[in-house]
Point group: C2
Chain length 444, copies 2
């Protein structure tokens, strides 16, 4: 904790007008693999990540869930590693591993002692091009995923509402399709679908290797050349031009009633722009807006007006994450206090938003939020794994190393005018979906 504070102050003091210098080196192999190395010698551990520039929003229509399905199948075997052994080997080396899929990318992580990096690379490179899938592997894993969907989505009213809202938010873009896939489409995914998706998209020229921890760039480059260098690129990588949205002309509203709902809430998402390479200022303003309106803690505009001054809400929040390939959403949510209807809670929230749009940013709030954001950015920079993740994610959605390094300064450069311009643009209910989660139909 002391170390964090010390670093925080030092970094903050050296902030003025320049990006913070992470110890980051980058290379590109001849086969197209981008390599990012983040040195951090404080502990003899290393994080090894491969990020593929392929996700659920890149799936072809009618085949939802294939990106996530393939993520599961990547833990099946190759010629070198028997089916199901991958994670067991990592664990036997004292490490742990993980993987996940978003609309924009699929990523594989291991965290191990630094002297195991060679083995991790060997195994990850091996499954990049040499996955072996039996029909049985595929059918078994498909059942696992259907079960996962059953637990995480189909039995959770909030998750179902979120899924229906996303589908209504995007009139044209594939962000409206759930990452895990629609159940009826998951059930139809085949071994051939998985192999086609894999062979087209899993290749060095569609991947970013991020290594963070107790390593040197030279060593990483050498190892990467040895393990990833021989892999053939794919000639089937296509530009990620998903269908873009037409003008959204009218708010969509929905009420999801389910007897399992114990705590009703109102949630609204607005279509919102994303970070773009060399052009992050609007996303930075929206990030600040989300913190101002509904950041964590008790001093946000929403918390003050809706929780403390009026006791309308148990909590109210705002959320935004601009790290995506295409425009995504800015969200607000309110959980009414007992005895307050969803209609009244929504009206109160809209009243607070309207007042904010009229009155503008409170200077004290803004200064405080800037300090908080700065601290959390510094905190993230002190965590090699978080930093590795930040670089990997950014590069996977089309940003550059420079964009990542510019981001903290972009946040600090946001002015109150920037925030208000972004707020007036984005907080437009014509481009929004509003959902009520409630226990009873009658509550409509």
């Amino acid at each position: 904790m002391l170390r964090f504070i010390g670093l925080g102050l030092a970094a903050a003091l050296s902030w003025t007008g320049q990006a913070m210098a992470d110890a980051v080196s980058t290379f590109t192999l001849d086969n197209g693999l981008e390599v990012v190395v983040i040195e951090d010698h404080r502990a003899p551990v290393v994080v090894h990540m491969v990020w593929y520039r392929i996700g659920a929003a890149d799936e072809s229509a009618g085949h939802s869930g294939i990106a996530h399905f393939l993520e599961h199948l990547m833990f099946k075997g190759t010629d070198e590693v028997a089916s199901g052994d991958f994670s067991a080997i990592v664990e036997a080396q004292g490490g742990n591993d993980n993987a996940f899929t978003s609309h924009d990318y699929t990523a594989y992580f291991q965290r191990v002692a630094a002297d195991r990096l060679d083995l991790m690379m060997k195994m990850e490179a091996d499954r990049m091009r040499d996955l072996r899938l039996t029909e049985e592997d595929v059918l078994t894993e498909r059942d696992v995923i259907l079960e996962e969907r059953g637990q995480r989505t189909d039995s959770d009213p909030g998750a179902l509402l979120s899924e229906q809202m996303s589908a209504a938010q995007f009139l044209n873009h594939s962000y409206g399709v759930p990452i895990i896939g629609w159940r009826h489409e998951i059930g139809a995914l085949s071994r051939q679908d998985a192999l086609d998706f894999y062979q087209a998209n899993y290749a060095p020229n569609n991947a970013i290797l991020v290594v963070a921890g107790d390593v040197t760039p030279d060593d990483v480059l050498e190892l990467a050349k040895t393990h990833y260098g021989p892999l053939a690129p794919s000639d089937r990588i296509t530009p990620r031009d998903r269908p873009s949205e037409p003008p959204q002309l009218t708010e969509r509203r929905m009420v999801f009633a389910d007897e399992r709902v114990s705590e009703p809430y109102m949630i609204r998402t607005y279509l919102a722009p994303e970070r773009n390479a060399g052009d992050q200022s609007e996303a930075a303003a929206l990030t600040m807006l989300a913190e101002l309106l509904g950041g964590s803690g008790t001093t946000s505009v929403f918390a003050r007006a809706l929780q403390f001054e009026t006791q309308t809400a148990v909590w109210a929040s705002a959320f935004y994450n601009g790290t995506s390939v295409d425009p995504d959403t800015f969200g607000v949510v309110i959980m009414p206090a007992p005895g307050i209807s969803l209609a009244d809670a929504e009206a109160a929230l809209d009243g607070v938003i309207a007042k904010f749009l009229k009155d503008g940013v409170n200077p004290d709030d803004f200064a405080r939020i800037k300090a908080q954001v700065r601290a959390s950015e510094i905190y993230a920079r002190d965590d090699a794994q978080a930093l590795a993740r930040e670089y990997g994610e950014a590069l996977a959605v089309g940003l550059t190393v420079q964009d990542v390094q510019d981001w903290p300064a972009a946040l600090q450069a946001v002015t109150p005018e920037d925030v208000m311009a972004a707020a007036h643009k984005v907080l437009d209910r014509k481009q929004a979906v509003t959902g009520w989660l409630t226990q009873e139909e009658a509550a409509e």
Copy 2:
């Protein structure tokens, strides 16, 4: 009119238990072209139609509007016919021609004196495989279509609401994309897009030729062999497996406010099943349901309850057309009487629906509707052009000649129990989109 009544009675008398026998012959050429001939020698005219089994719902994501764009471009030239001359030649022969695009098909019609059929076939066959498009043709026509969209959609609040509602109705299926295309995607369509779509999909093995009028099947077959026979089939015809809908779990609602709206209304569409080959009974029940609830005339359930008994509505209606490849919608609409709010009108309509679902079908209504439907089916059968259109449309969406011939009997076979079962299944607001068209935001 006398002739119609005479035919109507005759046909009705011979109805019992058997399909009405249209004078229809069918053939298939070696290259896959289906040919339907409907003889009608009452006048020396002929209708010549080519239906392609390709429409807006078959477009690839991000390229909306290409099917309709190509329909326009089909009036550009070939090696034989100069650009823009097609319709002029038809007119010079005393005929007229037309074309249109739906989500499921694209069709081209000419109506001419019977002795001009040879020329029509020659010209239509010529442009089936030999279209020539210059860059200038394409750019000029694209502007025409953008202008068309401007006039028909972008300047019409009702059309815009309908478009936004369709996009919200379909969470996954491509019926949510407008036939004319999203403006920003139309603007990006290229000559190459049009040629690719044309070459893949315009071919004898993806088309139905319908000829109706003063012809004999033998003559038509001979001419078809001469003109269409030499055309090469396409090897790029794929099954029409568009993405199907996931469970729709919650009603979507929207209010479209525009100062140009002079007559506000509430419109709601419910997801509804379609006619399927050999399985038309549910669609037949829904057809009867639409007639019962809100058919034209003043005796429908809606008209009686909402216009005459309570003066809640200026008019109220229901609509359904089951002739589609995939499930589409069943709709209801109410235009409130002056002084009645949209909320009250909607509540009144829902009250009528609820009462109908509880009370069931009134036997007198049902008998009357059956007679009306029978008369209109007979009327359609007396019109060679309408009949040609019915066969062409049905075959283009995957139905058979037998299905078309069975349809009138399927309608007559519907029981009150069938209607109520279909009503209870389809009139589920969880699967619906409800839109209000209104002049002012305040009217929300």
